[in-house]
Amino acid sequence: MYRLGVDVGGTNTDAVIIDDSLNIIARIKVPTTEDVSTGIYKAVAQVLKDTKIDKKKINYAMLGTTQCTNAIVERKNLCKVGIIRLGSPATHSIEPMIDWPNELKKSISENYYILKGGYEFDGREINPIDEKEITDAAKDMKGKVDSVAISCVFSPVKADHEYNAAKIVKDVLGDIPISLSSEVASMGLLERENATILNSALMTTAEIVTEGFVSALKKEGIKNAKVYLCQNDGTLMNVEYTKRFPILTVACGPTNSIRGASFLSKKENAIVLDVGGTTTDIGVIVNSFPRESSLAADVGGARTNFRMPDIMAIGLGGGTIVRKDESEIKIGPDSVGYKLTEKALCFGGDTMTATDIAVRLGMADIGDSKKVAHIPMDFAEKTMDLMTAEIEEGIDKMKLSAKNVPVILVGGGGIIVKDKIKGVSELIKPNNFPVANAIGAGIAQVSGTFEKLFTLSDKITRDDALETAKKEAFQIALDAGAREDSIDIVEVEDVPLAYHPGNATRIKVKAAGNLI
């Protein structure tokens, strides 16, 4: 039994084959193609050619891809979306998509309706929904939209209005894809509505992505594999689920890289330093999952409340240009980028880079060390000290406490990092680190997240609420395909609402488990 993991990045498409005991038995890197699917096809074909395994024995295939993100950023293949927001008379003061970039707004929707419905924080109705109003809106959209997005005030607390409205819309428009905000995202009406609209806009792209991957697999004779796509949170969703919730794929790249690094280093809690040519991305693994950012995530110019990995980028990589200004050393922020092997001194070029400094100091053996011998040793040392200080500061900013932490070093530019770094308990450089992303895809788990606002009382204590939430999350993970005995509660968040009388608390629980 084997797994095939594929990751599409901005520059490269990587593929790996992983066996039962999670050993990496083959890996390949090919350039990402403009249409993406050709690159995927090539990577799959190559990695299979490199091994002699029986294709029938590949029983899982996972894809991490940027296609949905690209579709939004490039405004390509986006569906026309009809938007229904339930909450009137509340919410009229801010119309849907008010702060979106005009272009994106135009390519997605001109049809929105703010209709009666919605809840108070405690689940009381603001208004019942009005069947006729929704029917009229649906009739009005007919022929103008490809999909429908429905949001509702406080639907994370109670979603009945969204379900009922969806039924009414289906009665009028037939079998049209409908996204419900309570299923897509969490608290914060505007952010949740934005995410739901974007999700609806990706319905065609989702079809292209999933069908493309499935057919690439078929073409290569992989017929028995269960197919999954990677989500932002480092867990998987199957093809059917992806077709309903394509928006959940938008940040899977950095997530897979962090998860892959965690797997390769066998560390469940650590900092990941991904050093590229131009920048270094610093992320954090907490219990084998990436730490999520607390900031609102911007997707193509629209503010959403997705949980994206908390990544800090610093302008330092292998190709970063080093200059001497009179007495001062200036490092970057510009870089020779992918032209390193052409421009860097050690490759016979004319530009001094961070890599040249590492070669001069004997930290790396690439290019021709004679070509950097003219760099004064004390200058190289001083420069390295400055670069190290920058990395140390970055690591320190991402840490949660003053305690020393293990750091996992991945990425092609890793040679510029010294073995001894302040604040670091151990520096780990795993094998196979160039394909950490695809490995992250290959080892991903399935998960379930449950979030709800509980009003606590004598009848429902905080413990009861937590127990309910855990059970719900467990069930969602189970439904998503996790093996029952492997499901763990991996995250519990409990936020008492300040200023809020009546002792309400918002509880969020995530459960994750291995594939069957």
Partner: protein, 364 residues
């Protein structure tokens, strides 16, 4: 009369975040309400405190309740039309202009939406010159002006007029109504005459916020270090530059209390700093010596992009510059200090103006 466009509103929101001294919360929803109103009704007109007629009626507009509710149950937009009608009928007088209660968070934005929608000017002033956690902490209170009659309204169309015996009762009754009405309501309070506004409003807060916001937005485009530009612009003091090494938090009776500890960097190396907050930053100490206290402003900004940091966003490892600003002179009077001085917040510290503390301090 000056007009505010969408860019001005973005800048005011950013500037108000700094003057919010760590409190006030995320102004996002308020900002969008203002932007939507400008899109629908055109730019907001601003009027100077000095040019308001003495007998004109000015009211403050704000939201009351949980910001966590407001981000879900967004306002209808018609609340203030109804509230104004009720207030005008009750007082038998037309409202001339509106004014913000404070210069931070969502309530720095709501009056802008109201002004655009109602086609009335917004007064370039406020009652705090910053943000404070309690309703009576306004300069109007210092001049004996009461908050009533007060209008409370919601998205459904309910309108109530409160005529109470004092500000504390307004607060208590309105709080209870807020809960019944779903956790967040819009309010119209402190009706005042133009003369009263001239006596007790803090001037030019809108222009000041806009200037600060623009300065932060533009700061990375010039060769001068961003923090220096900002300090020059606002006539502020750099109190400390350091890294957050610990954040202690506690929620008590609806307020977020806490302390953030900083370890010095660059020229502050070997020194440490501590800032105590209750929603807003209240006391700053360097090496245990008090360097600034409320009502002077204690703000924190990111060392890299000088964006203001609220107390919610304080976390280990962040590099921040602690900035001190003089508060308005009205807060430095006996009654002012009784209302918002360090002793009111249970600190056993005598108020000394920040400029004096800095002159005498051994650590700055």
């Amino acid at each position: 009369m000056k007009e505010l466009n969408k860019q001005s509103i973005e800048d005011i929101a950013l500037g108000a975040a700094l003057l919010g001294t760590g409190g006030g919360g995320d102004p996002y929803v308020g900002k969008l309400m203002a932007l939507q109103a400008v899109e629908n009704y055109g730019p907001v007109k601003v009027v100077d405190v000095e040019s308001i007629p003495d007998d004109a009626l000015i009211v403050l507009t704000a939201m009351m309740g949980a910001p966590t509710v407001l981000v879900e149950k967004i306002a209808n937009g018609g609340e203030f039309k109804r509230a104004f009608e009720a207030m005008e009928k009750y007082l038998g007088k037309k409202i001339y202009a509106t004014m913000p209660i404070e210069a931070g968070g969502v309530n720095s934005m709501i009056p802008l939406a109201v002004a655009a929608q109602m086609g009335i000017p917004i007064v370039d002033g406020d009652g705090m010159g910053r943000a404070f956690p309690e309703l009576q902490m306004v300069t109007y209170h210092l001049h004996g002006i009461t908050s009533g009659p007060m209008v409370v309204t919601d998205e459904k169309g309910n309108v109530s007029i409160l005529e109470t015996i004092n500000n504390k009762w307004s607060e208590n009754i309105a709080r209870a109504m807020t809960v019944a009405q779903g956790g967040s309501v819009m309010i119209c309070i402190y009706p005042m005459t133009g003369k009263q506004v001239k006596d007790c409003a803090i001037r030019d807060i809108m222009s000041y916020s806009e200037k600060i916001g623009a300065s932060i937005r533009e700061s990375t485009k010039k060769d001068i270090p961003p923090i220096k530009q900002l300090l020059d612009e606002i006539d502020g003091y750099e109190l400390f530059k350091g890294k957050i090494v610990d954040v202690l938090r506690e929620t008590k009776s609806g307020f977020n209390f806490g302390t953030v500890k900083l370890e010095g960097i660059e020229k502050y190396k070997e020194k440490n700093c501590e800032v105590n907050f209750q929603n807003e930053n209240l006391v700053a100490k360097i090496n245990q010596e008090v360097i600034a206290t409320t009502p002077d402003l204690i703000c924190m900004v990111d060392t890299d992009n000088i964006s203001p940091i609220t107390t919610d966003a304080l976390k280990y490892g962040r590099r921040v510059v602690v900035i001190g600003l003089k508060c308005n002179d009205m807060w430095r009077t006996e009654k002012g200090l009784e209302t918002v001085g360090p002793k009111y917040f249970h600190y056993d510290i005598d108020y000394v103006p920040i400029e004096k503390r800095i002159k005498e301090a051994s650590n700055v």
